[in-house]
Structure formats: C-alpha cells, structure tokens
C-alpha cells in the first residue's frame, strides 16, 4: 500500500511539466513593424545629459530610435470609419528614445510601453540622410543583424529629411504606415523605372562586408503618402553616403545593372511622343577587355523587349515596318542616352562603381581583381579610367490593342 501511495505522489510532479520558461502571451508582445534612426535634436526624449554620465562609456554619437508598434485592437475595428468614443485611435503608435546604442535605446523604450518590443515582424528600417552621411551606418546595422530576433528580409531605406517623419505618414488606404511603405516598395508597376529595387538588410550585410560601393533606396514623406525614388550612393570603403542619384539616373543605373523591369520610356517620333515599356527583365551582357589595366574597356550590351503603351504620334504600325524599326531604334537610343548619363555621373563625378563592375571582375577575372581590387574605385581609381560603352537593342513585340486611334494624316 505505501508503495502505491508513493507512485501516486509522483503524479504531483505532473504539475511542473506544463511549464514554459519563455512564455510570453501574445497580448504582451509589442509587434514592431518599422524602425527609424535619426540623430537626436534638442528636447527629444532621453536626450538630456545625465549627471552620472562622466565616467560612463560613450559612443561617437547618440541616436534617436523610433519604433512603430502595432495596436492590435484598432487593427480589427476598422478604426478609421467609426470615429466614436473609445476606440478612435490609430492602429499603430510611434515611440522614440535617445541612446548611445540601438540595444540600449530599445530597452529604454521597453520601460515606456506596456508591451515589450518584439522584432521578428519588422518590415522596414529607415535611416536618416544625416546618419547615413556620418558614416555610422555599419554601427547601426550591427544590432539589426546581430540580434537573433531580427530577420534578414527587413527592407532598408534612406530618408531625405527626418527618418521618423516617414513612419508618421498617414496613408489613406492602409492602417499601418510601415505596411504601406512595404507595399509601395513591392509595387513594381507604378513608377518602376525610378523605383529602385528594395534592399534587404541581409544583402546590405554583404555590401558592408566588402569594399564594394552600393546604393540604398531613398524615401521621402509627404503628409499622407511617401515617395520612394532615387537612391543614396554609398562609398564602399567607409560605408559613408556620398550623394543622391535621382530619377533618370536611377533608370540608367537599372539599365546598366540589367534590373529594369518596366517603366515608361518616352521618345520623339515626328513632332509627338511615343511611350514604350519593357516587359520582363531586360538582358544585359558585359564584355571586358582587360589587357590594359590603366584603360580597361567594358561593353554593355542591353537587350529589351516590350510593347508600345502609348502613341500620341499616329503611326500605322501594322503596315509600316520602317516606322516600327524607327521606333525601336529611338527607344534604344534613349536607353543608351540614360545609361551614358548615369555612367558620366558615376565615373567622372562620383568616381564610384555601383554598377556592379567590381563584382563582375571579382567573379570573372579573380586574378586581375587581386591586383586592382584595392584601387578599383579608390586610390588609383581604375574604374574612372576605364572606358564604358553601351549598346542597346530594343524589340517591340506588339503595338498594343489598337493600331491607330486617329486616322493617319496624309502629307
């Protein structure tokens, strides 16, 4: 009998089996969807100097970290429509604090919110231009890469003006600004030519580790919406932002990199305009003549296939092959012009290679790369000494659903 009792008493242990040391109720998680990093200004929370700060280790800079947290309640209630008492709020709130390191700031923020910040669902990270130009980008990235809660799919952008303002936009058709921005970056159709490919934080890590110069998309806030367009060019040695590259130059860059996926290209035919759009990725090939280190030659061959999307000039496409060819050639010339403009700017003004030639050389001519790699777009700057040619070929697959919208004028 005592033996059975002993056995039954073991059952008490069952109580302890259902434990979970790391249990956090979902209601206690503050889902972070976006983050922004600025330099602090007068009067920002946490910016006041502490009295015991004399002996404390200090970084080179203090940063203002803004997190966007989801308010789950308002997500489901259709908060915008009601406007009634109680609910009425936004589906998110932004909270900022100043600190020496990202991690410290994150933990400071946790003192002020009822739900502790939880990062795996973060979508975007916005860095202000000021911070990017100061060359501290790698310092900031470290936290967002090292912490095990972080994912490598977070999209990084550089903001013109304050980064936290971007998180404060009030989009009309989305509840969360961060989600709205995330969808805009995915929106390949819109203005795709000037909309640069989103940069994932994992890819940025690769760029920071190499000496390669790189680009990060630009974002601007404008009240109810954001505008993503243009890119910030970073010099690869110190990972410091150097300059912006805008509109057409970004398109030129996309042509050179072979990443152009669409976007309108306007050309003049006669006294009017014709608009063309690339369908699918364009094809790019590089041919290199590396016999002379001081004057390497690269020939970019670009091939684009697409359709006529708008033709203000009346052309009888179906019966006039010569005009068809003319349109193709004009588009090719236009692409060539944009690409060459970008080359001029990158090669002669910035002297930075963000076209990806360094990767091309490192991958295809590893022997040569050993000797020129260190001085590619620094020091000797072989890149600026190289000659870059662009050849473009365009195939118009079809002229759209109508041949002409108005009758052809007889001369």
């Amino acid at each position: 009998m005592p033996k059975t009792l002993w056995k039954y008493s073991l059952l008490i242990l069952v109580v302890f089996l259902g434990g979970c040391w790391d249990r956090v109720e979902i209601e206690e998680r503050g889902f972070v969807v976006g983050a922004a990093v600025d330099f602090p200004k007068e009067g920002d929370e946490g910016n006041e100097m502490e009295e015991d700060a004399a002996n404390k280790p200090h970084g080179k800079h203090r940063y203002l970290l803004t997190l966007q947290l989801v308010v789950p309640g308002s997500m489901s209630q259709g908060a915008k429509t009601g406007g009634g008492a109680g609910s009425g709020g936004d589906a998110y709130y932004n909270i900022s604090s100043v600190g020496d390191t990202m991690f410290q700031t994150d933990r400071q923020l946790a003192n002020r919110v009822s739900r502790s910040p939880f990062f795996p669902h973060m979508k975007i990270l916005i860095i202000s231009e000021e911070v990017a130009r100061s060359g501290h980008l790698p310092d900031i990235m470290d936290f967002f890469l090292r912490d095990s809660e972080m994912r490598r799919g977070v999209k990084v952008m550089i903001s013109k003006g304050e980064a936290r303002e971007v998180l404060g936009v009030k989009p009309v058709n989305e509840k969360l600004p961060a989600m709205y921005i995330d969808s805009v970056t995915e929106n390949e159709r819109s203005s795709s030519a000037t909309l640069p490919d989103p940069l994932r934080i994992g890819d940025l890590n690769e760029k920071l580790l190499t000496r390669e110069s790189f680009i990060i998309p630009r974002i601007k806030s404008a009240g109810k919406e954001v505008k993503i367009g243009g890119v910030a060019v970073f010099e690869g040695e110190e990972n410091k932002m150097v300059e912006w590259l805008g509109g057409e130059e970004v398109m030129g860059l996309a042509i050179l990199k072979g990443t152009l996926k669409g976007g309108a290209i306007n050309i003049n035919v006669g006294d009017n305009l014709v608009s063309y759009e690339t369908k699918g990725d364009i094809k790019r090939k590089i041919k290199a003549d590396i016999s002379d280190k001081e004057n390497m030659k690269f020939i970019f061959t670009i091939e684009s296939e697409g359709i006529i999307t708008e033709s203000m000039e009346t052309i009888d496409y179906l019966n006039d092959p010569a005009k068809w060819v003319l349109v193709q050639n004009r588009v090719a010339d236009e692409m060539k012009r944009m690409a060459e403009k970008t080359i001029r700017k990158l090669q002669k003004e910035m002297k930075l290679d963000v076209i990806g030639l360094s990767t091309y050389l490192a991958q295809n001519y590893p022997e040569l790369w050993k000797s020129v790699g260190k001085d590619w777009d620094h020091g000797e700057n072989y890149f600026s000494k190289a000659t870059l040619h662009v050849k473009a070929r365009v195939i118009v697959r079809n002229p759209g659903t109508v041949n002409q919208t108005e009758p052809l004028q007889e001369d």
Partner: protein, 368 residues
C-alpha cells in the same frame, strides 16, 4: 513499471542505413558552410565537401567491413581476437568515453542554439538538462527502439531540409557562385578536413554491427546511409553560398539557420519558417545524441556485463551533463568540437584502419 519489449534485439541492414544517416546529420550542418567557406574561395567549398565526403564514405565502408567480418560479435570480442584482451578493454572504454563526449557536445550545441533562437530567458543549463532527460528516456528503452525511431524521424527531417532548400531558390544568385576553382589546392584539403569532422559519427557502427542479422549486406547499407548526408551537405552548401555570397556566409555563426530566416512565406505562421525548421531539426539531433549515448552504454556493458543497463544509464547521464556544461562559452565549445573531431578521427579512421590491417594480415575471420 514494465516497459514495452520488442520481440528481438536484432536489426536489419535498413535500420543500419537509417542509423548512419541520422547519426551523421546533426549539429555539424549548421556551421559547415562557414567552416568550409573560410578556407576556400567562391563556391569552391563543394569540392572540399565532396572530397571529405568520399573519404568519409571510404572509411565508413572500412569500419563496416571490419565489423561485419565478425558477425554477432561485440566490439570487445573481436578486438580481443585481434589485439589481446587488455588492449581491447582499454580501447572499448576509450570509445565509450568518446561517445559520451559526443552526446555531451550535441546536447550543449543544441542548447546553445535553442537559447539564441528560441528561448531567450531560459538558462542554457535548463535547456540542456531537459534535452538530456529526453535523450535518457529514449535510451532507457532498448537500442532497437531507437532504431525504429530513426526510421520514423529521418524522412521527416529530410523532407524539411529539402523544403528549406526549395524555398530559398528565389534568393539564389548564380553570380555568387563565381569565381570557380580559384582556391589553392591546400585550401581544398583544409576544407576537406573540416568536412570530415561533419561526417563523423559512423564510429557507432563498431558497436552496432554486432546486432545486425545481415552482416554481409551492411557495407552497402552504410555506403547508402553515408551518401544521404553527403548529398545534403553539398546542396546546403551550394544554396547557402548562392544566397549569402561567400563574404557574408563566412561571417554568419550558423549560416544554415540563417537561410531558414531568409525565407518569407505569406501567411502569419509560415512567415517564420525557422521555427518549424528548428523544431524538426531537433529531432535529428535527438537521434544523434541518443544513438551515441546508447552505443556508449553498449560499449560499457560489454566490459561490465553485470551492471544493469538502466543503472548504467542513470550513472552515465549526469557525467554526460557535466561534460557538456564544462565549456564556459561558445569559443570553448568550438574547441571541444575540435577535440571531438580529433578523437573521432582516431576512432572512426585510424583505429579501424589499423585493426582492419591486422585482421587482413593475420587472416583472422570471425566464426560465422
């Protein structure tokens, strides 16, 4: 309390095949791309993996050949015929210790990784303890039970591995594979050495082949069993290089876990694929640890047949725990890993080769 008992304590060649695969696939795969990548350039690491894998395959075959020369004889019995009783006992006990250390290392590594990725607040000691308790529970049954578990787990594990690779194809950049063949030849061999460590574990065959009822089929089964991790490692390496590029890959502590974090599938649950991957992967680490522990128990029992199996397990488990928790930080754990690779080299490669040589030279064959 009477535990369920299987009809016989025998296994076939299929069980051996699964056991070898499950044993070899463990925590090695997490860091493998980094260790191989850091001594090779571009995507050349696959050559090292192939080289190391083929070497491992050969030695595994040798171990199988050696052990199946003596059907139904334990490691102790056949080494006694080959190199006298005292030496045989010495070797058996060393092998048992090596396997214990193996279990300890797996336990510590899985605890470390779970701590980083899953349990932020749970102390690593507690995670390790719980893992070891489960392993002990598994081992406390019978060896054959563990083999059955392998048959069950391995397909699931391989499925999730394949799923992981497929889901990463979208992030794969072929350009990252270039330049090819730019590594110096010494690099390939260094890489192969690193890989060989990831293939260790087949030394358990020294103990287990005694249980098989088809000794003549074992060498073939072992070869197939070893090819599975070889192929897996090759694919994982290629995908990891293609996704991260060489430069970033060698900076990631556990590249294979990071590719699980790359994956983003629409849908709230699968968005975090790594949790699923990780949960499943613990199954194979469980298999590895349990087999190593069990083999160690079998080795001890062949020397001390009077001790009851369960008591031996209860006695060894705390020692394994202490072994595992000794290194204070990650660098020391890696160091232990290196030592383990070294002793694995002795037990899986050096010793079997010598024993096989002796057997061949003296023409000793077990009485079948």
């Amino acid at each position: 309390m009477k535990s369920f008992e299987y009809g016989d304590e025998e296994i076939g060649s299929r069980e051996i095949l699964y056991a070898v695969s499950s044993m070899v696939i463990g925590v090695g795969i997490f860091g493998l791309p980094r260790t191989v990548g850091s001594v090779t350039k571009g995507s050349d690491g696959w050559v090292s993996i192939l080289l190391g894998g083929v070497l491992a395959l050969f030695f595994a075959w040798l171990v199988a050949k050696l052990a199946s020369r003596f059907p139904r004889q334990t490691f102790l019995q056949y080494t006694t015929t080959l190199v006298s009783k005292p030496v045989a006992i010495f070797l058996t006990i060393l092998l048992a210790f090596h396997l214990m250390q193996f279990t300890a290392y797996e336990m510590r590594t899985v605890a470390n990784i779970s701590k980083v990725y899953l349990f932020d607040r749970t102390p690593v000691e507690v995670i390790a303890l719980l893992f070891l308790l489960v392993v002990t529970y598994g081992v406390a049954c019978s060896s054959v039970g563990l083999f059955r578990l392998n048959l069950l787990f391995l397909p699931i594990v391989l499925l999730i591995a394949i799923l992981l690779l497929i889901m990463n194809i979208g992030y794969f950049e072929p350009g990252n594979l270039k330049p090819v063949f730019s590594t110096k030849w010494t690099g390939y061999f260094q890489g192969a050495r690193e890989t060989l460590f990831a293939f260790l574990g087949f030394e358990i065959l020294l103990v287990y082949i005694a249980m098989t009822n088809q000794p003549e089929k074992t060498p073939k089964a072992v070869m197939i069993g070893m090819s599975i991790p070889l192929l897996l490692y090759l694919f994982v390496f290629i995908i990891v290089v293609g996704v991260f590029g060489h430069t970033a890959m060698i900076q990631l502590t556990d590249p294979t876990i990071e590719i699980a974090k790359e994956v983003e599938v629409p849908g709230e649950f699968f968005e975090r694929f790594e949790s699923l991957f990780f949960t499943i992967w613990i199954m194979t680490i469980f298999n590895t640890s349990a087999l190593a522990f069990d083999a160690s128990v079998l080795a001890f029992r062949s020397v001390f047949p009077k001790i009851k199996r369960v008591w031996l397990i209860f006695f060894l488990a705390p020692i394994i725990y202490l072994f595992g928790m000794m290194p204070p930080n990650l660098i020391r754990v890696y160091e232990v890993g290196n030592w383990l690779g070294f002793s694995g080299f002795i037990f899986a490669i050096l010793m079997p080769t010598i024993l096989f040589g002796i057997a061949k030279l003296r023409g000793i064959k077990g009485n079948a």
